[in-house]
Symmetry: D2
Subunit: 490 residues, 4 copies
Amino acid sequence: MNCTHPFLDLDGDKLREECGVFGVINASDASAATALGLHALQHRGQEAAGITSFDGTEFYSRRGLGHVAENFSSSEAIGELPGFMAAGHVRYSTTGGAGLRNVQPLYADLASGGFAVAHNGNISNAQSLRSDLVRRGAIFQSTSDTEVIIHLVATSRYPTMIDRLVDALRLVEGAYSLIVMTPEGMIACRDPLGIRPLVMGRMGDAIAFASETVAFDVVGAEFTREVEPGELIRVTFDGEIESLHPFGKHQSRPCIFEHVYFSRPDSFFAGRSVYEARKAIGEQLAIESPVDADLVVPVPDSGVPAAIGFAQQSGVPFELGIIRSHYVGRTFIQPSDGARHSGVKRKHNANRGLVAGKRIVLIDDSIVRGTTSLKIVEMMREAGASEVHFRVASPPTAHSCFYGVDTPERAKLLAARMDVEPMRDFIKADSLAFVSIDGLYRAVGAEPRKKACPQFCDACFTGEYPTSLTDHSTVESQAAQLTFADHKAA
Amino acid sequence: MNCTHPFLDLDGDKLREECGVFGVINASDASAATALGLHALQHRGQEAAGITSFDGTEFYSRRGLGHVAENFSSSEAIGELPGFMAAGHVRYSTTGGAGLRNVQPLYADLASGGFAVAHNGNISNAQSLRSDLVRRGAIFQSTSDTEVIIHLVATSRYPTMIDRLVDALRLVEGAYSLIVMTPEGMIACRDPLGIRPLVMGRMGDAIAFASETVAFDVVGAEFTREVEPGELIRVTFDGEIESLHPFGKHQSRPCIFEHVYFSRPDSFFAGRSVYEARKAIGEQLAIESPVDADLVVPVPDSGVPAAIGFAQQSGVPFELGIIRSHYVGRTFIQPSDGARHSGVKRKHNANRGLVAGKRIVLIDDSIVRGTTSLKIVEMMREAGASEVHFRVASPPTAHSCFYGVDTPERAKLLAARMDVEPMRDFIKADSLAFVSIDGLYRAVGAEPRKKACPQFCDACFTGEYPTSLTDHSTVESQAAQLTFADHKAA
Amino acid sequence: MNCTHPFLDLDGDKLREECGVFGVINASDASAATALGLHALQHRGQEAAGITSFDGTEFYSRRGLGHVAENFSSSEAIGELPGFMAAGHVRYSTTGGAGLRNVQPLYADLASGGFAVAHNGNISNAQSLRSDLVRRGAIFQSTSDTEVIIHLVATSRYPTMIDRLVDALRLVEGAYSLIVMTPEGMIACRDPLGIRPLVMGRMGDAIAFASETVAFDVVGAEFTREVEPGELIRVTFDGEIESLHPFGKHQSRPCIFEHVYFSRPDSFFAGRSVYEARKAIGEQLAIESPVDADLVVPVPDSGVPAAIGFAQQSGVPFELGIIRSHYVGRTFIQPSDGARHSGVKRKHNANRGLVAGKRIVLIDDSIVRGTTSLKIVEMMREAGASEVHFRVASPPTAHSCFYGVDTPERAKLLAARMDVEPMRDFIKADSLAFVSIDGLYRAVGAEPRKKACPQFCDACFTGEYPTSLTDHSTVESQAAQLTFADHKAA
Amino acid sequence: MNCTHPFLDLDGDKLREECGVFGVINASDASAATALGLHALQHRGQEAAGITSFDGTEFYSRRGLGHVAENFSSSEAIGELPGFMAAGHVRYSTTGGAGLRNVQPLYADLASGGFAVAHNGNISNAQSLRSDLVRRGAIFQSTSDTEVIIHLVATSRYPTMIDRLVDALRLVEGAYSLIVMTPEGMIACRDPLGIRPLVMGRMGDAIAFASETVAFDVVGAEFTREVEPGELIRVTFDGEIESLHPFGKHQSRPCIFEHVYFSRPDSFFAGRSVYEARKAIGEQLAIESPVDADLVVPVPDSGVPAAIGFAQQSGVPFELGIIRSHYVGRTFIQPSDGARHSGVKRKHNANRGLVAGKRIVLIDDSIVRGTTSLKIVEMMREAGASEVHFRVASPPTAHSCFYGVDTPERAKLLAARMDVEPMRDFIKADSLAFVSIDGLYRAVGAEPRKKACPQFCDACFTGEYPTSLTDHSTVESQAAQLTFADHKAA
């Protein structure tokens, strides 16, 4: 399930992550809790949402384009999803009716009964598995990589559901955090490297699973623990919980970008408060790349925690030099008179009274294409800033992600095209600095990065992918060669 | 035009202000600029929007429920509004088709030609004027107080449009900032006390008017000056600008709540940066009511500037102890298991990792009913805060507004029902303090408050209304007597 | 209220009549009965519908574009229209939101209380009355001629409502059948010549008014009598019924086209069954213009009764030589291969098996532009008919209507451009004949037409308009001169 | 594909037939022609429509609930369906988004490429085939019996598409007329008994297939011949046409109800004009069951041709004693005053002026539940008819259909519950007669019915099903036993 989230970013100038999943079993209002849980994960996928529930006899599904609140806040909607087990999914999706086919949870009637799955991640050999299955007569309903898992389960020869699922996952390569529902209960599992997050919680007698802990805060559940890399947790309707590790032991490599940008600051990830991690990155930045300035200004909202950290470490006051509108959305027709950069200004407006005549340090979480960074620097100067320094709370993003994050094609990544000094020139800042990869590891509370086997997936910064990439690697490497050769040579 | 804005506040626990108006004349894309300008004023009225344009021959109107972006971002919408003069309005409105009748600009075909008006404010003798007009055979299209102005203009015996408008406004009492369009040009005017804001800007050859300066930033116009209290500014299609003061000189009394909450922090109001004013209120609060604490935590987003001011003044670090969701909206069905206060948590979630074991100072802009304040204090305690102190960046809000702000009925205002100590008890805070009225005046850069004739309208704090209230006063005073007698006695 | 009905005719090749009105007082479910009554009158106006009800205190209104069933069949819709008095209206309307302003009943709050009116007809001096009213300060909400009546009532100086209404109607010229609701009861009235129909019925204690008797059949009411030309009938909530004739006695001149086409065949009009009248016209045609043929084929559905009459009189068998689709509606994209006349064929397809090799008499109710007649003749020939004779159950339609029927501009009327023989040539028939004007009078059961003062309004055939035409006459006569001079000369 | 058509019948008191299919290959505007062709077949399925096209590379699909005109009349809709081959389907469907899954054509990506199929009929062993397929790992997208065919094709081991399709159809039992599209061209086929209709036509170089000939009239194609029972016709993009008969020779048994009711009267079916067949049934009825009466009155519209036949044979005049509204649709709220049978009257109103005091023969095509027949007889009496005789243009409908017609459960069929005399009593007619089964065969132009092997499928009248009914037979016979035992015994 390769999906995306723009975090209200309209220019596509952020990495677009992932999906969010939420499931709960043995709850009296399973679908209402799931709706609320998904709503708390809305930032992980804003284009479509779906919930499937089970009442002991039947499975019920409802899907819709748009936000969770638009589709699952009414009592009618929840009333269509009865039962004590439910799971849901938020995702990025193309618009249009056909798009609904790909909205999860995916559901199929297997010979063993109903089978529903919500998936966060990306299966990197989905295309080759799919070709095999079609050759054997399988008919796919969607273009989703997740459907491959269902067909593998459907055609597995093992007798029990858990064996069929393990059999299927053995063939699968890439990143996945799954919530599966069958007539026997719920199964949550995470790929052997634990690339995508998945946490477990408890709400009275009910057991819940979610992409982030913030979902537990909102539904009123208590965080129990992370689902471990390579672990399958099976929960029955009797409340039995069983943990399996069918794939043996691996060193885990969770996605470090969850700390940088994807997770909500009020979530805990890999044992650490995301807010604290971001502040620590800001502090690290202030130590590595200090600057003589009057104001520390975050690019709202994702740059705020790092900016607070930078300000506290440096002693330069933290101020809202950019005001963010709550009403972003569609693009407007541009009037020909006057309005320059009004697209950016609709979202982010300079706080003129504050900025004029001041030396500014802008703090942002990352630079992807660089186009928005350029506009923001220009906007600061137009508002009278005397100097504009740019500090980035992650290393240069130079590589695509193949694990469920919708990165622009590599040719569009500014850091894939040029080094830091040309980047500074491109965004027209007075200075530009990124946190170092080692500084990032330090800030998130890890040991120094282990070259041989890093503790996180940091492929977007380093290009070191932790799995093979059957579908993509050849294409990607060739494209990279053709496209970037002379850029890098220059 | 009595309207409202919830600033994404779903419980009605904020004062709901006003409307926003924007107009531009002699612009090549008048309606596109107006759409963008209204979008920048969206926080002033989120329920409905309308634009009327004029192309030299015909007037064109389009109205819709919902946000500006939903109604005016398409080229089709803008294409239906041709011409070089346009004005628009954002407002609060009841839902349903009938509600569209009240969406402004209001338009009428008079004997002199088309007449369109967008109004921010409230006419406090509208009901008695309306009764007179109906008795003389006038037929009203809407329930809007603004329509009274149109009928007064239509039935005035003066020969010129400007005289007819002045004749009409002489009969009108209350607060109004108007943008009027006729086949001769645009007229902007503000009531004699200048209660509601109205500013003037320039965009090349075009002249623009708006409720706040932020609209000029977004459309790319330059702020020229405020429209003065009691001033009418007439702009013709030849570019002539004429200023009239037909009502003589008055001491102005602009609404001080614009500084507290209504205006965007990146606007300038009454000559001062709203962001700076809010920070200064926070500093004043820290001086007046200091507290020994570990963290200064704003109630997002309106409490942020005052919290920064409080933190800088007090030396207590500013931290995001509450994380605000970007995806608020409808209410969800509450699951019976677990979720307590999930309504609040959907919007505002405690940053647990930060707050646990800490002494917190919460900063909010105002307390209206107090119900949200209570929930936020409780949420902080549940997240482990050891002490929760509450500081409010305005004096107690104890009186209704009759000038275009939708206050709850007085019986619902916490400060109308009790003093500060019972309020503290009600919201369960360890301490509670409000900025003083004099401190507020100081913070917004004014002289000490002149008892006899205050420099601002501060009636919501003091009950001193600057105009007579023909329609409302009797009703209100009686209701107040009946409802509050024993509360205050207790 | 000039409106229209296409009777599923998409090419505009029918006269488009009128509107339909229905009202009921002292009924326990007034709005439900009104919805049903309007539904039975749907053929009189298919583009928009509205109902206003009164519950003793408040008036309630609901309007919508489209059919009655789409807008008024749900219990929600009816639930919004409580009370024991209601009136409704069906009409033709332009599409688009703005069009709703013109959907009737029109409603206004007058000094005397609420005033609602539903109007079938057209006020032929509405423009001049409107100009006067605007000059005196009246503000119009709609472009409807009906609103003139409301303003005249609102500004009348008479003390009682009935006097104010009579005062208003004295100034009005043209055709009108009105149902008025005030807080005192219902008033039904018809213009002095009774051009448009209006009938009265009884349903238990309730009194109903409708454009046609078929509405009484469907709601279960009994037909009492026609409202007389120039009569006002006032019904109070006590059940008192009062009849007034304030305009003196006139010779009535009801629209003869109601018999030809507008009314449903199961209605009674001017004392006669419409079905019987149409059959009699067919018989008259067979007598006046017999033809040697194998089959009598109606152009469905309006030509059917006359075809049955023609067949019975002539002895030539009646057959369905044209099959009409029930699923007409939008125009389709025409494929370039093959499909010729597929627009007509979507609605009317030749019954090939029947028609091939036969001599056909086609019977239609009227010829307006002639374009559809041509296509149908050609379709018959393509299906193998050896001869195609055309007989028309009305005289040539050569003049526009100014009494509430939407005729094409006169230049588009085939009979305004040419005589019968060129018309035959135009539609490519082997022969063509129209019933004579005297034959038409005979068929509808009238005395021979009185030249000096005809018993019906037959202006569309004769050009003899029974009233003055203040707004239109000058324009029309000039246009006629310019446009037709050489046609007629040729 | 078991579907249905109510022919605007809202009470379900008609047999609900089938679906309609249309396909065309080698046409320059294939999807525009398909839309028009489907529109002409709208009476065969009014709840949903779909079209799939192929442009030489890609397949394109569009589906929608509602009529063809609502979904496929715009140039946008047709523009989304490019290419020179297209096929479409109209059907009955449950409402709601999920229903779209079942809207045909069904499409799948097979290993051999795209595969689309539109199906009219019903596979009577679909459930058992589906169970087998699921057991082998197939995942179904829909609940449609048609999908079974696709999975059988997908899992067939034969090398060529035509062999795989024949292999699949060998396993299938029941009725089917199919239009299949693959990247190699179009295949049309009909089950070995030819139960459901399918005809072939030519439009220039293009070859078209349709359920009825009327579709060719409307698109401008020429009827070539019927697809033979058991025939597969393959058409390539080079224009080659190949006919296959892989299932050997069978005696054909087309559905005789196509003549009675399903087909449009302007279609040809089994070599005969449907209109002529219906007239002949009416003549046969007049011979078998004459009646002394004043008027022959059809129940519109389906009873009209038989009524004309009855009238011509008997000499009793044909008259429109019931007027049918063109605006049926939703059910209205019934007012408590007055309105009795207003549900029926909204659709069918007595022509009072004609009927009063007369002896009436009503002619209808069939009696299903009898509830509508009762209401119509009562309506005639209320309108003053002195005698009401009922004649039915088909034998008693006493058995369910399992070949794609949605019959009510057998217990609801009036003729399954009682003999003719009790039926007469039930509908309160003065006399009741049905055409005999032999008379029906005679009227449609067939030899006398061959007992051993009838020339038509007439199972709904005789209970003699021409195929085995794997899925249904056990259930049905048991239900019949339980439900009808005492009825029939009584």
